[in-house]
Amino acid sequence: MSPRPGFVLDVDSSTPPTLFWHGERFSLETLPEGSRVIYAPEPIDPLRDPQAAIRHALTHPEGDRDPLPALLFSGMKLTIAFDDISLPLPPMERPDIRQLVIEQVLDLAAEAGVDDVELIVALALHRRMTEPELRHALGDRIYDAFAPNGLLTQHDAEDPDNLVFLGATDQGEEVEINKRGAESDLLVYVNINLVAMDGGHKSVATGLASYRSLRHHHNPETMRRSKSFMDQHKSELHSSNWRMGRLIRDAGVKVFQIESTLNNDTFPGAFHFLQKREWEWKAKDRLGFVAAAAALDRVPARHARKIFHSVRAPHRMTSVQAGEVEAVHALTTAHVWEQQGVVVEGQTDILTMGLPYISPYNVNSILNPILVACLGLGYFFNLYRGKPLVREGGVLIMTHPTPWEFNPVHHPSYIDFFEEVLSETTDPTVISERYEEGFATDPWYIHLYRTGHAYHGVHPFYMWYWCAHALQHLGAVIIVGGDAKAVHRLGFRAASTLADALEMARDVVGTSPTLTHLHAPPILMADVQ
């Protein structure tokens, strides 16, 4: 039976309660009759033979690019850059797609007699990956072959000796990227495309860039003009990256882009009910929910977090394409939409969403309050094409415990941002003008980013800018079940229950509002008509 497409359920008196994520827990909520629930399409069929598909992609490239074997030659300098820990979510079961792709690239390089090969984690200003994380992404064979010899490195956006300035776009955007990558005879980029925002020129122009470059598109104004940043053609974030990517190309950097897409088979056995539609739950699903909910309620949050972060998603590859960046990415985006697209008629007054435990920036870590805001207002709010799911002036209701808790190793500057910056203002523009440079150039954050596993000092700013479009668009944001002090620090309203939140929302949008619930994850993209 072929997988069913996405679905918009109209809630009536016979509709069972709806599952809401609440961080490391979840609950069942009864939505008012007349509400809508948007469900993701079911996981589409994966490629039957991923290895063969990769081989085919490498030898039959898209766009104006020779097959990879023809680009490889003895004596050349080859660099393979790949996406970091932020993709995919949750981390996938072994073997990771990056491993499958890079193994084949390395085999071809070996066949061609290429000796000078280096692997670079394209982490931009994200935290450096740990050895276990790298082993998971690349497999032990690649790790052991490259890491001990210093040939597996992590991009260092603060290493002036390994950055090169390539010029500025016609919009004045400075392009400074990883020197090894830029000066290689061939830069192979291995991407995993989880959402439509990923990939394309953003891979190199962002993943291998420095703060000097990133600040040109990671800022409040760009994010406000990206409606949404999941829709490349309406996204100023992408326009900027595309200008930079073309400058990189014109500067002589030869990029061979390899992009892959995944199906949205997100949760393994015990948690499989999380991606099923509630009215189709069988006894096993109901039992699974009751058991999981009861168990998670009884363990401390840190243990629940550990349980969830050990989840490995059974994602399977649905496509792989390689070659010239733009031609590749056009195909990739189409595949993403095929898996995630759901047509939705019209906007809503109130949009509800249950926020899970994970975002791209807290793998094996804590979803701190800034990341809660970013996940809801940055990512989930922007999962649309056309118009936002919620109307201008509408209300966004999110459920998440929003603890006043940070991982000091991964997110040191987030702590100061939360304490020092958000205590003064939540206005992204004011924050950008008043505080960004100080955090971006703080030597302690730079030290921790370069030598530890810390996100760059400026990263919490970017998370807040990610919210800028939603902050401008919404009439109110309410978090259900969150730490009230933390929620207020974010500038949002706190509610104890969904019913209370709906009452509060009615003060903003009127007494007979329409309500839509975004039932994610699994991830979906709303095509709002």
Binding site: D416, D442, P443, W444
Partner: protein, 412 residues
């Protein structure tokens, strides 16, 4: 007339110390303090004048004494029995003469500069410190015409502020209170003078980053002193660690640039100093840290957030503490006390030195520091008053004082 009298009674001191583990000031009922009938002490000389207390504050050093937590260093600098209370505004029913030799008419309100240095003790010639105006540093506190006592409120001969009976004030101690100041304003002059002295003696330079640890009475008045007396000539930045919400509000309103909870202070200083961190200590840090707490933890914290060759000023009264001084040695830090008051060099070039008290009188008016007086109690309710003072920050209070004007009932 009544007075709270502290007697040397070791079992009662022990009992108070045990009770203080439940909270500072909690041992008042079983400790060495007793409410007794009282009368004015004998005049030690013609240059002494009876001052009838109107309000008298409860200081952290008073609480430490009552809790039995004071350093034994002070044992020979007090004489029993004594009436505590050195933060006093009173009225000169028979008039008097002030520190400058001016006649004060009967009914004049005055505050006392309580240090009992050479002049009150009729020691001639006065010591070098008293001669240069630094009376707080006088070495003759156990000698001369008076029983030992470092201040009024610790001396058996002078009486103290926690009394409805007059205390005896030497002319060198007396400062008339301007009409514009309320009694609440006036009772804040003495602690404010301590803060003035701390702020002006810290050697703050242009552009310095200042951290203040603690935001009780001393912390808040230090912030006010820095803002009004130091910032105009240095442009210094003041970051304050304050535990309680009301303290944070007051610190901000008194001129702090940034106010954070105590556990955020080191991070806030680090951010402003652009410092790295090694072994929990900042590699750079604040130029000057005012420790307005005086505990081992606060001193350790202060040493961890001051820059190399920076200065840590102990404003809060410490006792015997255990502190690792390796960073002090390694980073060539200066750890310095700031006790009481004296003669302050003016930050204005060419201007004459002024008494800390004179500057404090102006500062209390300018910063409206009378608002820091949170509660007034009659003497009869001294147990409540001391317990309140001992938990002031947690209860949203700053300064708790005795109201000696109306012995019946709580007036505020």
């Amino acid at each position: 007339m009544k007075a709270l009298v502290l007697e040397r009674n070791l079992p009662r001191f022990a009992a108070a110390r045990v009770a203080s583990f439940l909270g500072s000031g909690r041992g008042a009922g079983i400790g060495p303090l007793q409410l007794l009938d009282a009368h004015a002490p004998e005049r030690p000389g013609e240059d002494w004048f009876p001052l009838r207390p109107l309000l008298s504050g409860i200081c952290g050093s008073d609480l430490a004494t009552l809790d039995g937590r004071t350093s034994r260093y002070f044992e020979d600098l007090v004489s029993f029995p004594f009436v505590p209370g050195h933060e006093v505004v009173g009225v000169l029913d028979d008039g008097g003469v002030d520190v400058s030799g001016h006649e004060l008419a009967p009914g004049t309100r005055a505050v006392i500069e309580p240090v009992l240095g050479c002049r009150p003790r009729h020691i001639e010639p006065v010591c070098v410190q008293c001669g240069s105006g630094h009376t707080g540093l006088c070495g003759n506190l156990a000698f001369g015409a008076l029983e030992p006592g470092l201040q009024t409120g610790y001396c058996a001969d002078t009486g103290g502020g926690w009394s409805t009976a007059p205390l005896m004030a030497h002319s060198s101690q007396l400062h008339a209170v301007p009409e514009a100041l309320s009694d609440q304003d006036a009772v804040m002059i003495e602690p404010t003078a301590c803060a003035v002295h701390a702020a002006l003696s810290a050697g703050i330079a242009a552009g310095d980053l200042i951290a203040v640890v603690g935001a009780g009475t001393l912390g808040l008045t230090t912030v006010a002193a820095l803002h009004h007396l130091v910032r105009p000539t240095t442009g210094c930045t003041v970051v304050v660690g304050a535990k309680h919400g009301r303290q944070r509000e007051l610190a901000a309103s008194l001129g702090a640039d940034h106010v954070v909870p105590p556990d955020q202070l080191a991070r806030a200083v680090r951010r402003r100093a652009g410092s790295l961190v090694v072994a929990g200590r900042l590699t750079e840090g604040a130029d000057v840290v005012f420790d307005c707490v005086g505990s081992a933890a606060s001193i350790t914290e202060a040493l961890s957030m001051v820059r190399p060759r920076g200065r840590v000023v102990l404003v809060g009264m410490p006792a015997k503490v255990s502190v690792d001084l390796a960073p002090l040695w390694h980073r060539e830090l200066t750890l310095v006390g700031a006790y009481a008051y004296g003669s302050e060099a003016s930050p204005e070039p060419g201007a004459a030195d002024r008494r800390s008290f004179e500057l404090a009188i102006d500062l209390v008016a300018d910063a409206e520091l009378g608002r820091l007086v949170s509660a007034l109690y009659p003497l009869e309710r001294y147990e409540e008053a001391l317990a309140h003072a001992g938990s002031a920050g947690r209860r949203g209070a700053v300064k708790v004082a005795f109201d000696l004007r109306n012995p019946k009932g709580r007036s505020r």
